[in-house]
């Protein structure tokens, strides 16, 4: 009876897990070895899709962009988040009000905020460029690769910074205040306390945040799709947006699946590291 109950309890989850995770993933892996056009039956072609990707300039660039987006976006965001968390952890007037205002970008709807960014950075008529040109500074826009990537990363940091700041702040607040008081009595200044108390005690949480944020950022689709649609000249595509373009715009699900499957080992490795850290 005990076994039956156990099975009944976990059955819905196992069923949904197979239906929503295992089945689509298996199909995706299978499609990556086939020539699969939308609505047609797949034809097995072995590794041809992967060979094609290996020489595809757009895919190589999207791979590089993904590394750049994740590498810079996650690390800059978390370094700033840690510094801000430290700032919010101290006692000063209006702390709670500023903290409340600081969180605002996080609950904003993603698409609306992206469209606002799109218009703010419009090269010809955006408010940012109006201010820059009024100050005699060069304009910045989504029409050039470097600037477009900068704006994409900037949005990512702006949007997600509050969440990670609050997470790290929660971690900082768990550090006993007595340790800081003892250090202060021993003559430590703020920098030393941050270096020798805060950092070692927050290290594990920081690493978990980094890995988690990396996994989430790897799957980010909206930022690039709404801001640039992969342009100019397909130069700012991430793997996720390029795979969507091939799958649903060009109707080539074989190549699209191969793009994702090619990047899968990297994501699985990150998840394994995360699980090891969390000792799950």
């Amino acid at each position: 009876m005990e076994k039956l109950y156990t099975f009944l309890f976990i059955f819905p989850f196992i069923f949904l897990f197979i239906l929503l995770i295992i089945y689509p993933l298996s199909i995706e892996i299978y499609y990556s070895f086939t020539e699969k056009k939308a609505g047609l039956e797949p034809i097995f072609i072995g590794l041809k899709n992967f060979v094609y990707l290996f020489f595809n300039k757009d895919y190589i660039r999207s791979f590089f962009n993904t590394m750049l987006f994740v590498g810079l976006g996650v690390n800059i965001k978390l370094i700033i988040a840690l510094l801000l968390a430290n700032f919010f952890n101290s006692n000063f007037k209006f702390n709670r009000i500023i903290r409340g205002l600081f969180i605002l970008p996080w609950p904003l709807p993603i698409i609306s905020s992206l469209i606002i960014f799109y218009w703010m950075f419009d090269y010809d008529w955006g408010v940012v460029n109006y201010i820059l040109s009024s100050l005699g500074l060069p304009k910045i826009g989504l029409g050039r690769y470097n600037e477009a990537m900068f704006i994409i990363i900037l949005y990512h940091i702006w949007k997600n910074l509050p969440f990670w700041t609050i997470t790290l702040l929660a971690g900082l607040q768990r550090i006993p205040i007595e340790i800081y008081e003892a250090a202060r009595i021993d003559g430590s200044d703020s920098l030393k306390m941050f270096r020798y108390i805060t950092l070692p005690l927050i290290k594990n949480l920081y690493l978990v945040c980094t890995i988690l944020s990396t996994i989430w950022t790897l799957g980010d689709f909206n930022t690039v799709w709404v801001l640039t649609k992969g342009g100019p000249a397909d130069s700012t595509h991430l793997i996720s947006t390029l795979a969507f373009r091939y799958g649903f715009e060009l109707g080539d699900l074989g190549i699209s699946s191969a793009m994702i499957v090619f990047a899968l080992p990297m994501i699985i490795a990150l998840i394994l590291i995360l699980l090891k850290f969390l000792k799950i």
């Binding site: 109950y5 056009k37 609505g39 419009d122 989504l142 029409g143 342009g231 130069s235």
Partner: protein, 509 residues
């Protein structure tokens, strides 16, 4: 109630959780089962064809009586019953995916047709509207999920590729209906005669519904400030007029030439195609063969690319044009941030006619493309927008019936004019309607005048390989190679031409 009885009624907590858990699992399993059965339910039955049995009637026609014998002459009369196609009574709903953008009237026109059809037949028409890009993506997803709509209206290349892949129902019976066949513009029929590669058969797998060219629009007051009542038709003078206007208006943040240059916008490809045609360069032969090895065509591609690059680098085109989506030149033009633009369909004036009718009637003008640099007049490409019926929905006959209803002249005129002039009709007789010839209108009659020049079918509707190139925004990518990646003109042209050749090889064209 005594304490003892209460104790008896108490259930052990572990048991309670088990019962609740088991109950929840059963409910969840039932819900999942229901969901799966809904997902895997076979499509509704196909319409049944009822054919009455052939009857043989023996009739005594004449009886002649001779001495000793009676001869009875008989006649076999075969009662031929016409095959009657009836729609299965259970099917009473059509799921329709329709493309609409920019003008609210577009939706009203389709909804009105659907409402009238519902009243006439009792069949519910359930329409979902999407913008052109989203409609294409949704259609692809529905085809892949094997839950296609009963009927779809799509622009451009997607129907060509769906027909090539054998995914569409043959609709020759509608297109070749003697009542309407001869009334179609020939270029429309040509654009609808497509190849199904699975059967290697060419036929009508799409029904043309709308027609459009690639137009030029400009703001009259801004051009007049540069001393022009209208843009000259000579190539150099035409562009010079907008450059002059640019120099006057740029201090107000208004650019002279608003041509899309992005790989994210179909408009970029369409404009490049029309620029090539205006200079007499046909990238495809009338038979649909690739013609880019013709030195004249190749040179025109390179010259056109160089021309656009120099317009951009000299600052006549907004710097942001390299990231424009299909809607962005519309927005820039309607916001009076550019003096002229090119656009497939009359969507910009149509939107203006709703938001600012005075400006529509007095200030925005649609005009011809300039002549080629050598003074010759190049052709316009004509693009049809189609109604298509995916295979395997079980509702094919009903979908055909709804298309026939829309194409019926008395329904088609309010339908096409409901688009506020965004599209031209596919029928010659309907173009004669006064709606398309209002002398006070500076846009719709001008768009009808595009028929005065030679016409060719849009390359992406003539060939599936070219449709794929259009889908990839190949010319837009070529422009981006020079403007964004800083490639040379030659390298960018070579890459685009190589891509075209590869696609033609893949599609066996």
């Amino acid at each position: 109630m005594s304490e003892e009885k209460k104790e008896e009624k108490k259930i052990d907590r572990r048991k309670y959780i088990k019962y609740v858990g088991a109950g929840a699992a059963v409910v969840a399993a039932a819900a999942i089962g229901y969901g799966v059965s809904e997902l895997t339910r076979p499509p509704p039955p196909t319409p049944t064809t009822i054919v009455q049995p052939t009857t043989i009637v023996q009739t005594a026609l004449k009886t002649e009586t001779l001495p000793g014998t009676t001869i009875v002459k008989t006649e076999e009369r075969t009662v031929v019953q016409t095959a009657v196609t009836t729609v299965t009574p259970t099917v009473k709903k059509l799921n329709v995916l329709w493309t609409t953008e920019f003008v609210p009237g577009e939706q009203f026109a389709v909804l009105k047709a659907a409402e009238d059809y519902e009243k006439a037949t009792g069949v519910k028409v359930d329409i979902t509207f999407y913008g052109a890009t989203e409609a294409r993506e949704k259609f692809t997803a529905l085809m892949e999920a094997k839950t296609p709509p009963d009927l779809a209206n799509l622009r451009g290349h997607t129907p060509i590729l769906a027909a090539y892949r054998g995914q569409l129902v043959d609709v020759s019976d509608i297109v070749l209906d003697p009542k309407i066949k001869d009334d179609f513009f020939p270029v429309v029929l040509e654009a609808s005669y497509l190849l199904d590669n699975t059967t290697k058969k060419k036929s009508y797998y799409v029904v043309p519904i709308h027609l459009n060219f690639n137009y030029i629009h400009y703001w009259k007051d801004m051009l007049e400030a540069a001393g022009y009542k209208e843009p000259p038709l000579e190539w150099n003078e035409f562009w010079e007029a907008f450059k002059k206007a640019h120099k006057i208006w740029i201090k107000n943040g208004v650019y002279g030439i608003g041509i899309p240059l992005s790989s994210a916008a179909r408009d970029t490809n369409d404009t490049f195609e029309q620029l090539l045609l205006s200079q007499g360069a046909l990238t495809l032969t009338p038979e649909g063969k690739l013609n880019v090895d013709d030195p004249k065509v190749r040179q025109t591609i390179a010259n056109t690319l160089e021309f656009l690059v120099s317009l951009y680098n000299e600052g006549y085109i907004p710097p942001g044009a390299t990231t424009w989506t299909n809607a962005d030149n519309n927005k820039a033009m309607l916001g009076r941030k550019i003096i002229m633009t090119s656009n497939a369909t009359l969507s910009i004036p149509a939107a203006l006619s709703v938001t600012d009718p005075i400006a529509y009637y007095t200030n925005m003008v649609t005009c011809h493309w300039p002549k080629a640099p050598d003074g010759s007049i190049g052709p316009y490409y004509a693009e049809a927008s189609y109604a298509i019926i995916p295979k395997g929905t079980g509702n094919e006959e009903l979908a055909k019936d709804f298309i026939r209803y829309i194409l019926d002249k008395k329904n088609y005129v309010p339908f096409i004019t409901g688009y506020a002039g965004r599209y031209l009709p596919v029928f010659k007789s309907v173009l004669e309607d006064p709606f398309f010839h209002n002398p006070k209108d500076l846009n719709i009659p001008a768009s009808a005048k595009y028929f005065e020049r030679p016409l060719v079918v849009a390359s992406f509707q003539l060939s599936p390989a070219y449709a794929q190139f259009e889908l990839e925004v190949g010319w837009g990518k070529m422009i981006g190679r020079v403007l964004v990646d800083k490639w040379s003109i030659d390298d960018a042209v070579n890459e685009a031409i190589e891509r075209l050749k590869t696609l033609f090889k893949e599609y066996g064209a």
